[in-house]
Amino acid sequence: MKGNEAVAEAAIRAGADGYFGYPITPQSEILEYLMEAKPHERTGMVVLQAESEVAAINMVYGGAACGKKVMTSSSSPGISLKQEGITYIAGAELPCLIVNVVRGGPGLGTIQPAQSDYFQATKGGGHGDYHLIVLAPSSVQEMADFVELSFELAFKYRNPVMMLSDGAIGQMMEKVWLKPQKERSKTVPEWATTGKPPTRERVIITSLDLDPHRQEKFNEKLVSKYNEIREKEVRFEELSCEDAEYIFVAYGTSARVCMKAIQLARAQGIKAGLLRPITLFPFPSKRLNELSGRARMMVSVEMSAGQMVEDVMLSVNGRIPVYHFGRMGGIVTTPEEVVDFLKSKI
């Protein structure tokens, strides 16, 4: 099954209430699969092809504000269009899932895989002080598994979650184990718009507050929420880090490349390891800082001009050298290139 198809099937099985999307390569299979699978007959899930990414993300806003499990997916240029809606969703504190199957940019760029949207995903993306929770799958299995996890986190924190995949994992075919069908939730959160019964005050979902003092209080509330997420939701995986002198930091497709690079390096007597962030926000800064106490060097391997490397540097805080290595424009780095780069810095 393709990564994109796995997301779609996992969404149906996770009991998602709605999907609103717009075609763009390399993620169109998500919408195609959902249209073909007739989730409306299986679970009552609503699937709609919108007239634009802008409309799709605003449909997500409307559905999320009704307390429903809703999602959208796109790829880089489409995610840029969605940024307006995403900041409103963050500002209105609505839960939802946004899948980004990243391709090379800027502009139309390429349709091949890239990781050049790290800044956009982890630093906010739209205007205003906000963060998404960002999950980075590195396999088809994780693309499937992270759907349900995303909804859990989104509802737990009333915060949008982005699954930051890339064109390689979205298009890749792997064996995947899918969870059994879950029923769609019948419980409605008390903050959702459902029509105002006489027994409660009206619900207003908005990101507007014209009073700067109240707005500041709201911003402070968001900050404390993000801090709680930083405290509780960091997820990462370590490979051969126990004795590693040189640590690659990589997520998604690049992490898979680094797994092979570790083998190649160790065959040449170089003690290499990998820290793979699973959550990019919150970033595993504490763990990287700990590891920097015993490693000699870190290399952030990304298919970008060097974005996550800034967070690695902040985590290490100057204790050891940190480098970036990666290819761009839709080209996937090879393990040999990674090892050669490491050797050039030792």
Binding site: F20, G62, V70, E84
Partner: protein
């Protein structure tokens, strides 16, 4: 507060003929004196009250003068980004099909930045009501030219009058959506006289009832005034609207369901 002048015998609960509906929250409206927004809010609230829909209604408010609409009607609200209200309403209605869902949008919101969302929601026949306030100007931001500003009409960004050679002609969104098979009821009304208010309220009531039939989008344009933006007194602005806006945006139904008027129905496939 009353100016009772020996008429206390009339002012008794049993003699009450008109009182503001409880669906209005009681907050002082943020609009300029004489603005048609307030009147439209009130008749919308009255219909929701009279049809017993307060607990069944989800409204979507826009960006523009009526951005704070959610402060004024005592119902559940979602505040949309500029122009995106029909996209929100689409999802709400599809996920909660039993609820009464409407958007309320001005001409900048609906006919400029939200053109795509409006047309496509209407084209899909989303089973929602769209109220479109057309006063030919951007009121909230200080009187700039709108897509509906009349030819030659002055605004802060067309200070010498709208030059249609440069800026094109006013966009008649209501006429456009009336041609789409997805719309079920399309009408243009105003709220500047008692008779017009009654007609507009009747149109809103029809749209509310049609939504129960699940047959497509109901679209109600309210041609309205903007005394501040037009730089007139409210009474002058209403006269100016009659003389200038109505010839360009004539009042009346543009599309009515076949059941009500078989001759006028332009959309047979929608009415099985």
């Amino acid at each position: 507060m009353s100016q009772a002048t020996g008429i206390k015998e009339i002012i008794k609960p049993e003699n009450l003929v008109y009182k503001k509906t409880k669906v209005m929250t009681g907050k002082v409206l943020s609009y300029c004196p004489g603005c048609g927004h307030g009147t439209t809010h009130r008749i919308l609230a009255e219909v929701i009250d009279e049809e017993g829909l307060q607990s069944e209604t989800i409204g979507v408010s826009p960006v523009g003068c009526s951005v704070l609409l959610y402060e004024f009607l005592d119902i559940d609200w979602q505040e949309a980004a500029h122009g995106r209200a029909p996209a929100l309403a689409t999802a709400i209605k599809r996920l909660l099909p039993e609820k009464f869902v409407f958007t309320y949008q001005g001409d900048g919101d609906l006919a400029a930045i939200g053109t795509a969302e409006t047309i496509h929601a209407c084209n899909r026949g989303e089973n929602i009501m769209i109220i479109f306030i057309n006063n030919g100007i951007y009121g909230m931001t200080g009187g700039q030219m709108a897509p509906t500003t009349l030819p030659g009409m002055k605004s802060s960004t067309s200070p010498y009058g709208r030059d249609v050679k440069m800026m094109g002609n006013p966009l008649k969104m209501t006429d456009i959506v009336a041609t789409l098979p997805g719309t079920y009821y399309v009408t243009r009304q105003s709220v500047h006289t008692p008779a017009n208010v009654k007609k507009a309220k009747k149109a809103i009531r029809k749209a509310v009832q049609y939504q129960k039939l699940n047959r497509g989008t109901c679209f109600i344009e309210i041609v309205s005034n903007c005394p501040s933006g037009w730089k007139m007194t409210p009474v002058e602005s209403n006269k100016w609207m009659e003389a200038n806006m109505f010839p360009y945006y004539p009042l009346g139904d543009l599309k009515v369901p076949a059941e009500e008027n078989p001759q006028k129905q332009t959309n047979p496939e929608k009415n099985d």
